[in-house]
């Protein structure tokens, strides 16, 4: 490291100059020839040793070639190089990887200052992502403000750094690493359970048979395929909040709980059934857990808190009935919420709904009712002339942004309407009122 600092000394170091690379002028460029000459003189070594030394410097990333950044050798000619700027800019993960490799090469015998650095970096790793994100954001912002010349340089620097410091594909050290990771992976793969071909292939075939009539390429789309006839009745009959769905749509809800929940119109119907059974909290919890999983990173902890208060806390207004072990694990996990903290509980609830509630729904009056009401549109046959005419009057339909806004409004309304009555609060309110009356009566009489 000290050597590198000396090399950069403007007075006694390697002669640098400005060079043109394509269209941009890059400052402080050195040629391979100059570097080697300087090392030979300084170290009083021969050309061969200087060559080795210089190549090491390039391999470790202290110096990097401007153009062919993958060729990490020092060439004794006019090939252009630059010094890597202070490693402070590339701290944390990049440094850790470098340190780990150094550790391995030296077989654990790091120098005192290196060991201190390693320990320091280890602590940083616990806050790994936050720091990297911060760094990356800062770097990106800074990059934008720099002049073009500097930006080209920085870009080269980063590329070179990555070429040197990211897990390389070849080389003995990395072979160990790759081989070991492969072996770990193979062992895991051998251990995992797999299914008999007859079973899994049978299931794939069953899927095709089930959905055959719903595939527009295999069976006619009723009333007509919009792309063929230029008439969009098919889409108007199947909108998100249509009052009466089509028979095909209702049939599809019966294929699986996944289908029922994915079609929001089906989910609405399922909710009607659940309300009648007073068992809406499972689905509500599942929806809340989905929102947590797919929400923004910043909303995580507030959502987790709300979910805990609403569904999991003892005496919660919409308490879900899950087994003790899952409940315990989930509550503990909520102390440090992350987006998958509810995974176990959500799976449990989903399986409950899938194996029990879903089938009761299919047998229920709610479902039978909607099946009866559902529409069976007649096939519309247009003549080629009519198809032409239809093309003229194609409507743009409702824009998805508007649909989404409507959906948000409806969700807000529904949430307000179904806000669970806090029974406990009400009871304690009534208690206080009663107590007050009794006291009043005592004083009176």
């Amino acid at each position: 490291m000290a050597l590198v600092v000396e090399m950069q000394d403007p007075k006694g170091g390697v002669k640098g100059s400005e060079q043109k690379l394509n269209v941009t002028s890059i400052p402080y460029v050195i040629t391979g020839e100059h570097v080697l000459t300087w090392i030979t003189n300084k170290m009083k070594s021969n050309t061969e040793e200087a060559q080795v030394m210089a190549t090491m410097l390039v391999a470790y990333g202290y110096i990097y070639p401007i153009q062919n950044h993958k060729k990490l050798v020092m060439c004794n000619d006019g090939t252009l190089y630059r010094f890597q700027t202070d490693f402070g800019t590339f701290d944390t993960v990049d440094s850790v990887v470098a340190m780990m490799k150094l550790n391995i090469r030296k077989k654990g015998m790091l120098e005192a200052y290196e060991q201190a650095h390693y320990n320091h970096l280890n602590k940083w790793l616990n806050h790994k992502w936050d720091f990297i994100v911060m760094q990356a954001t800062e770097q990106y912002k800074a990059t934008k403000e720099r002049k073009k010349a500097d930006r080209v340089v920085l870009d080269c620097q980063e590329r070179a750094y990555w070429v040197v410091n990211r897990p390389p594909v070849s080389g003995t050290d990395t072979f160990f690493h790759t081989a070991l990771t492969h072996n770990i992976f193979y062992q895991q793969t051998i251990m995992r359970s797999r299914v008999k071909s007859s079973v899994s292939l049978g299931a794939l075939v069953k899927y095709v048979t089930t959905y055959k009539n719903h595939d527009a390429f295999l069976a006619p789309c009723l009333p007509s395929n919009p792309w063929l006839t230029n008439n969009d009745n098919y889409w108007t009959l199947n909108t998100r909040r249509v009052e009466t769905p089509t028979k095909m749509r209702v049939e599809r809800w019966s294929f699986s709980l996944f289908e029922l929940l994915t079609d929001l119109r089906g989910r609405d119907d399922f909710k009607i059934f659940l309300k009648k059974e007073f068992s809406g909290e499972n689905l509500a919890f599942w929806e809340a857990a989905e929102e947590l999983k797919w929400g923004t990173a910043s909303s995580m902890s507030s959502k987790a808190e709300t979910i805990f208060k609403t569904f999991l806390a003892p005496g919660a207004p919409r308490w879900i009935n899950i087994d003790g072990r899952t409940m315990g694990m989930t509550v503990k996990g909520l102390e440090h919420p992350h987006r998958y903290v509810l995974e176990a509980a959500q799976t449990h609830v989903f399986m409950l709904m899938k194996k029990d509630t879903f089938f009761r729904y299919l047998k229920s009056p709610t479902y039978k009712d909607i099946q009866k009401k559902a529409l069976s549109p007649e096939a519309q046959n247009f003549s080629p002339a009519q198809i032409e005419q239809n093309a003229q009057s194609c409507s743009p339909g409702i824009h998805p942004i508007i649909l989404w806004q409507q959906e948000m409004e409806e969700n807000a309304k529904a949430a307000a309407a179904s806000a669970p009555v806090d029974v406990k609060a009400m009871m304690s309110k009534m208690d206080r009122k009663n107590k007050h009356i009794l006291e009043f009566m005592h004083t009176r009489f």
């Binding site: 077989k107 072996n183 251990m191 095709v208 959905y211 719903h214 527009a216 395929n225 910043s298 942004i401």
Partner: protein, 379 residues
């Protein structure tokens, strides 16, 4: 429907560093341990110090590979075309071009449908990203991206946004930052997260709002060219395919590589899940498309013909999973019968390579994007 085997990832304190995080359950010398992904890496590095030699690791690798093939073979009791014998043959398909979308000034590299079943977004080599209403043929929006070769574009689930990425290594106003080109991007179940695949050999999951990297997926040894999210109730896995001829299945929560398939003999250009989520198909430069069963853990069909000699660049399934649409570099789209393994139809029309095919969300149409500067909608 089919009983899903749920991959329950464990969460809890890592047995090495003690930090609570998604854990990888791995076996070392037949002993099960639970480490977080960072400690697994550390351990892999430290393993070198325990005196393992190159030769011993190589030997172990070979024997493990053999054992894996044995295990896979034990359950291989029937072939797909045998099970498909009972299914009736497909009738003749009358698929024709119904719309031609003209407007791009250069090769169209990617397209994606909006959930409203009629709008779509496409990106091209001239840096333009266009949002179309496919039904009325109108261009609703045009965005200019400051880089050429916009290789990936995706429509957000709510229909309120689009994401794109390419040679500038970024995805959409720097949500995702890779060290090489972005080859594919897709939104997850919400507008808040994007999954990207890159030429730097990794895939990554990003939080859109903050640009934070949520999870990275390492395991490919070459450029990753394509990825697809599983359409399952758990929604926790995705498959990626790359230039290392491997197709890997990943767990989004832990970053772990769950399954890997290596049977193609050339770069895998595209991967797509079967609608049930239990299988997927891949398209490759070796002129074949292959079908993999995830539960049986093996390749179950190869779609190839002597007359098909050009590489396949893209695949997608029809709604029922019976048809596989594959776009090739010989300007055609072949329609394969997934179960019987035969070619059902060929679609002619494009005047240059087909770069992307996608079936619309309600299965009523197929859209294809091509280097001939146009998109076609078929039905």
């Amino acid at each position: 429907m089919c009983d899903q085997t749920f991959m329950a990832a464990t969460f809890g304190p890592c047995e090495s560093c003690g930090k609570p995080s998604p854990l990888m359950n791995i076996y070392i010398k037949n002993e099960a341990i639970n480490y977080c992904s960072f400690c697994v890496e550390l351990m892999a590095c430290q393993g070198l110090q325990s005196g393992e030699s190159v030769a011993s690791l190589k030997r172990e690798c070979e024997s493990l590979k053999k054992k894996l093939e044995e295990e896979r073979g034990k359950l291989n009791d029937v072939e797909l075309h045998q099970v498909a014998d009972k299914i009736e043959v497909l009738g003749a398909l009358a698929i024709k071009t119904r719309r031609v979308l003209k407007g791009h000034g250069n090769k169209v590299l990617c397209m994606d449908w909006c959930k409203d079943k009629r709008r779509l977004v496409s990106s091209s080599q001239d840096g333009k990203v266009i949002v179309w209403d496919g039904f009325t043929l109108s261009k609703e929006n045009g965005i200019s991206v400051p880089c050429t070769w916009v290789m990936a574009c995706a429509y957000a689930p709510t229909g309120c946004a689009v994401a794109c990425g390419g040679l500038d290594n970024k995805c959409s106003k720097a949500v995702a930052m890779h060290t090489n080109y972005v080859s594919g991007c897709t939104f997850t179940n919400s507008d808040n997260q994007i999954l990207t695949s890159s030429g730097d050999g990794s895939c990554a999951l990003w939080d859109v709002e903050s640009g934070q990297l949520l999870q990275s997926f390492h395991g490919h040894t070459a450029d990753v060219l394509s990825l697809d999210l599983a359409p399952s109730e758990t929604g926790n896995t995705f498959v990626s395919g790359g230039c290392d001829k491997k197709a890997n299945v990943w767990d989004m929560r832990s970053g772990q590589n769950i399954q890997s398939f290596e049977s193609h003999v050339s770069d895998i250009n595209c991967v797509k899940y079967y609608p049930s989520g239990d299988a997927f198909a891949s398209a490759s430069d070796d002129a074949t498309c292959r079908f993999y069963d995830l539960r049986a853990d093996r390749e179950v069909a190869v779609y190839q013909k002597d007359s098909v000699i050009f590489g396949a660049s893209t695949v997608d399934f029809s709604l029922s999973g019976r048809l596989l649409f594959a776009g090739y570099n010989d300007y055609t789209i072949n329609v394969w019968d997934v179960l019987k393994g035969t070619r059902s139809s060929i679609l002619f029309g494009h005047e240059n390579r087909v770069s992307r095919v996608r079936v619309s969300p309600d299965g009523t149409a197929l859209c294809s994007a091509s280097w001939d500067h146009t998109l076609r909608i078929w039905a």
